[in-house]
Amino acid sequence: MTVDDEPLLIADGLSKWYGRQLGCCDVSFRLYEGEVIAVVGESGSGKSTLLQLLCAQLAPSAGRVLYRMRDGVTRDLAALGEAERRFLFRTDWGFVHQDAALGLRMTVSAGANVGERLMAVGWRHYGRIRDTATNWLDRVELDRARIDDSPQTYSGGMRQRLQIARNLVTQPRLVLMDEPTGGLDVSVQARLLDLLRGLVADLRLSVVIVTHDLAVARLLSHRIMVMKDGQVIETGLTDQVLDDPREPYTQLLVSSILPP
């Protein structure tokens, strides 16, 4: 990680209005390879809107998102054709939803869920697809004997891990996560966070993770952006912002956490 290498993702003055309602305003940052940036804020802060803008699921009202493609060329997402964007979404990007059912195909087996992206990029050997899917199930600590079961028979934590496997099978470079531990039991959360930490380190993933949980941010992220009412209030190194909060809102957030 030299300090001269180019950023993987650049958000430049991103803004989104829903009519007169502000989604987010003038958000700018750079994300480098192997870096995790947490976007924290309470409900209505604009963090989910930001995530949707970053992967071109929403078009910005102002500003741009630039992404460095695998061939090294940095391109404006708005200038890509829909086919290219969808292809990126299936190969180079991952999106982990808070509700795993949104990120999975609930009517097909776990193995098919993990293998779908591979089949979408042209893999045509059943045995190899199945082996790769099995390996990924092992990696996310799912029982490989359940590869043919439907995710409907999985628990919430298992579904979330399956969603992660499904996203990572094509070795994306950028993963966006929207409250990946939301709604899970604490022990399940701990396991999932541990898994995410390991995968981020092993695969050198760049991650933008939206969370309202500062502990999750501290555990997983290098940098943090605090948002409120669509604005970025404070940004910097995670431990710096959480240990030495400068802005009133950040101080409020940090001091509001109940110690266990």
Binding site: A83, T107, V108, G111, A112, E116, R124, H125, R130
Partner: protein, 289 residues
């Protein structure tokens, strides 16, 4: 009271024009589903209205029409549709595959190879091959437009995971000219290879779903499969009890109420054709039966 006078082949000329335009588009883009303004026909949806509209649009006074249903010329549906066209178009009809110029079929492709100049019109219930996995029309249209067919292989993968082999036995998806994935209508997968580089024009009509698609003559049609689970034609292991054929698609017929059964060719014309050539085979078969 005068009997009603129909326009040739029932449809008015404007409608035929509209359908022919759709057909031309479909022929220009092999395997692509062209939407068309399907008309109210004097039979309900699910009884071949799509096929009938396509046939009506392409039929001319000199055409010879054959209509089959599951391979047979003499089932109720085949007979009704044939009568319909006799009444409204006055065309000559036949049961001979080789004699016909237009063949309307439900769920089978004739055994006798087709030739240039013939038109095969398929009746299609659900034209969208991805429908069962992706219910949204907006999404399936995008997938076709962007050639995103991974989902099709997901279905085949599921089959193998569940049954050990690809269990789809009819309506087996195909890729046309290396571009569009298409549902060949509920023909048995046994018939899929006949679509490949067929010299005849193949037209597909779905009345309720309002889609027409086409495979021009001599077009590449490949059944989807996996490298390690290649496409296999499936056929009941047996011989036709009437004509002795070992290479035609067979129907299983329950002969009596004691469990007796026999296999017969699904394609009645083919079977008859073989029998007129070999009367001794039929006698031998009926001794066994």
């Amino acid at each position: 009271m005068n009997a009603p006078a129909y326009n040739f082949a029932y449809l008015d000329e404007q409608t035929k024009r509209m359908i022919r335009r759709a057909i031309l588009k479909a022929v220009a883009i092999p395997g692509y589903q062209v939407p068309f303004a399907s008309r109210e026909m004097p039979m309900p949806y699910g009884w071949g209205t799509g096929g009938v509209q396509v046939t009506a649009a392409v039929l001319g006074p000199d055409d010879v029409l054959k209509v089959i249903d599951q391979g047979a010329d003499d089932t109720t549906n085949a007979v009704s549709i044939r009568k319909f066209f006799v009444r409204t178009a006055g065309v000559r009809t036949t049961t001979s595959t080789q004699e016909a110029t237009v063949i309307q079929t439900r769920h089978r492709i004739p055994e006798m190879p087709l030739s240039e100049g013939q038109v095969l019109v398929y009746q299609v219930p659900i034209p969208e091959p991805l429908r069962f996995l992706e219910p949204r029309e907006t999404e399936t249209r995008r997938m076709h437009a962007l050639s995103e067919y991974g989902l099709m292989h997901v279905k085949l993968y599921e089959d193998i995971a569940r049954h050990g082999h690809i269990a789809t036995t009819y309506a087996y998806p195909v890729k046309v000219e290396g571009r569009y994935v298409m549902d060949p209508s509920p023909t048995p997968k046994f018939d899929n290879p006949k679509m490949n580089h067929c010299p005849a024009l193949q037209l597909f009509g779905a009345g309720r779903e309002k889609r027409i698609y086409a495979i021009p003559p001599h077009t590449e049609v490949v059944s989807l499969d996996f490298e390690d689970h290649p496409f296999e034609r499936y056929r009941l292991d047996g011989t036709c009890a009437l004509c002795g054929a070992t290479d035609s698609f067979l129907d299983e017929v329950i002969a009596d109420d004691r469990g007796g059964r026999m296999f017969v060719c699904s394609d009645t014309d083919y079977c008859e054709g073989r029998r007129t050539d070999q009367p001794s085979v039929m006698e031998a078969a009926s001794d066994r039966g």
